[in-house]
Every structure is written in structure tokens, then in C-alpha cells.
Symmetry: C2
Subunit: 258 residues, 2 copies
Amino acid sequence: MPIIFLESKDNPKIKHLRGLIEQNTYRKKQGQTVLEGTHLCLAWLQEQKKINAIFTTELALQHPDLEEIQRLYHGSIFILSESLYKDLSTLGTTLACLAIIDLPSSSQALQYNLDTLILESIQDPGNVGTLLRSAAAAGVQQIITTKGTASLWSPRVLRAGMGAHFSLDIYENVELEQVLPQFKIPVYVTSSHRSTSLYAQDLTRACVWIMGNEGQGASDYALAHAQAVAIPQPGGQESLNVAIAGSVCLFEMVRQRI
Amino acid sequence: MPIIFLESKDNPKIKHLRGLIEQNTYRKKQGQTVLEGTHLCLAWLQEQKKINAIFTTELALQHPDLEEIQRLYHGSIFILSESLYKDLSTLGTTLACLAIIDLPSSSQALQYNLDTLILESIQDPGNVGTLLRSAAAAGVQQIITTKGTASLWSPRVLRAGMGAHFSLDIYENVELEQVLPQFKIPVYVTSSHRSTSLYAQDLTRACVWIMGNEGQGASDYALAHAQAVAIPQPGGQESLNVAIAGSVCLFEMVRQRI
């Protein structure tokens, strides 16, 4: 495959890559995003999906995972200087490659009788990606996000998701008011107010989970239209990290269904 | 209280602050660390603990939380320019203040019959802090870390811990070989190999949890001296984030003890 050296940060390909990494609006306009690291790239290729271009460094090119990638990817590989690469990657040179892919389109219609995780204005990319990873592990297939939630296809969320994105049905920028009334299954929201214990719920049938914003928690609309549950905290902390709270709920569901 | 404007990045107080934020060795040598954000500072002050100095910006000084802090803290407040503050803080200007505190010393002797969480070479500060927060919420009082684990008193771990540190008994840089044989209670380690289900364990009595490195998992020594348990993952993912896995284990313990 062609190996091409790029040296200038003003090269159009580099500018394009930087735009995709840094700007949500540019990603949407171009219909593309960036996978960081060989783990994500391999997970993507193993789903028979296409990479448009790979960017790496001369040193990283020797990494066994990049050799594995080159068995599955036959397009161009662009070699950057260490400093240019470090400047572009959100994690510096820790991850061995950056790959441009087309944004997947969700073709499936939302199903109102399946286990679903709703992320309501969750802002931290790490929390969002981790929740996707936990949902995929717990066997929850549908993910809905509202407007204020971090863009699921940003490089940081993709990285925290560790490939979970690729097996999920994802619906972004959904209005809660549009979908919540249509679900015919129980809807739960985590909240420390007016709640019953998570462990008192029967979670053996399909259900919907709403996880709210890190600071404010769930919206009034969500609280009014869902059963509020709380995770008992004998240590008396005021709250858990939202990715933790969500995962504890999802795995309590797994436990009850074994 | 005295309000002092500092403008130069070469001011000795700024150099000292930067050293504490960026260098683990400097923190140890000085016996101090830095709390970022008003939430952590208030949690610290509410435990009747002392802040040595507060750094903020003119704009952030108007923040209601900083006014609350000034009711409890009567030492010097140093005002930095926005750009200098942004350059120092690991989160830019998102958090309204930086506070220097003395590193707490753990005076208690380790108890070998109490619930304990052991972090074995966990490297990501976010994971470490989140696990401390979950442990505190789950009522686990003792935390042990091995050498490769991120320094618990670094600003990033403190921030992810959201104040959990202040109520825990913490033992850092412990050799697993020194402590594991002394525990008289069950010791569990999460692992996807040679494991039984988490949900098949009786967790009603005190126990020890070992969480291993993000990439490599637990050490051979840990696996040889603990009962390996796995979290069932019907979605078939290869692994959960370590902070999630640890928290799911700790809250399964909470559930069984209710």
C-alpha cells in the first residue's frame, strides 16, 4: 500500500484530519470522524468496515498491531513527524494511529419494546463512551442521546467506547418528549430524590434507563415520566459518577436475568 | 483575608504551585498537594481541615462557591490572570480555584478483617479516583494501592474522587506479597479467565477486592492468591472498564448486605 510522508501542518490532509478531530460541526459537514489507536481500528476492520486513510509515525509503524492493520487495510498510510502527530492526537503519541472513517448512518427504526439506554445531556466524553461500553457488555442494543449529550462519534467518545459503538443501534439528538411516551415497557431514571431502591425493582423484562447530566441530574420531564430509582449507598456519599451509576443499574438487570 | 495579585509565571509561589500540580516527586518532597475546584475545597474545609493557600482569577472570585469558601478559609487568596490560571490548571478555567493542602498521613494500622479495595497498577487517574468514590459510597473504608498505581494524591485523582479520599483509610505503595497472606477474609480478583460468576459468590461477610491494571489485568501473584470472579456479559464484550467492573462488584456486595 502507498506510504506517504507528510511534513507540514498546513497540508490539506492534515488540516482535514485536525478539523475532524477537533470540530463536531466539521465532522457532521464532512460525514466523517477519526478513530484513535490500533484497538479501535482493528475492531472497526473486523466488522468488515472501511477505513479511508491512516495517519501514524515512522516509529509506530513498527508496532505489531499496525502490521496486523496492514493485513486488513490496503489504502494509503500517511507518516507524520512525532511532533506533528503528538500535536494532532488528543492523547499525544500514546496511541499508534489515527484513522479517518465515514460516519455510520443508523438505518434501523427505533424499537419501543427493546432494552434501551437514554443519555440525557451527559457531557463528559469519557462518561458517554464508558456507558456505551457497559451497555454493549450488558446486552443493551439501543442507545438514545438528547441534544446536550457529547457527540457519540467524537474521537474521545469513540476511544472511551473501545469499539462498543460498532455493535450498537445509536439514535442521536432525540427529543425525550418525542420518544418517551411511545415506549410500552417500564422506564427508569436514577435519582436520589423520591426514589425506591434499585434492588427492589423487577428488571427481568425489557426496560428503558435514563441517565441524566453529571451536575444537574435528570430533567424534570424525565423525572415526571419515569420511575425514579436510587442505588443504596451505605457509605453515605452524595452521588456516584454517572457512568458508574448507569453500569450498576445495567448489571443489576443482567444479574436478575441470569 | 489578604488578596494578592500574582502576574509572573516565574513568581516562586507560582513555580511551587506548578511543581505540586505536575510532579509526583515534588509533591512528596514538599508534603503537599493541590485540590482543584470549589467542590473539593468545600469538602476538605467541611472536614475541619486546613488549606494553605488559594489561587483563583478575578472573575472566578465572584463565584458563589468561592464566597462560601471565604467564610471558612481566612488565609491568602492569590489572583492570577486568566491565561496564567488556565495554563496551570489541568482543566483550564473550568474549575474556579486551586488550593494547596498538606498531604494527609495515614496514621491507622491496616486492619486485616475489614472490607478492602486493592488497586493493583491501575494507571488512569480517572479510573483510580472513580474507584475511590465508588468504594466510599459502597461503605468500603480501606484502600490499598501497589506501586504501579497512579498517585492517589495527585490533583487528577483527587478531582475524580470528588472528596472520597477525605473519608477513607489509604495505604499507598504496598507490596501485595506483604499484605495478602495476612487477610483472614475472602479475597476476590476480577478476571475473565478461570473464573466463577460474581453473582454466585456469597458476599455477605467482609472481603477484599483486587482490581488489576487496565491493559494487563491482575498480576499472576494476585490470581494465584485470590478467588477469580467474572461479571457475566451477555453482550459478549471482551472486558469492562476497570472502574466499572470494580464498582459493579462493590455494589453487588452492597445489594447482598441490605
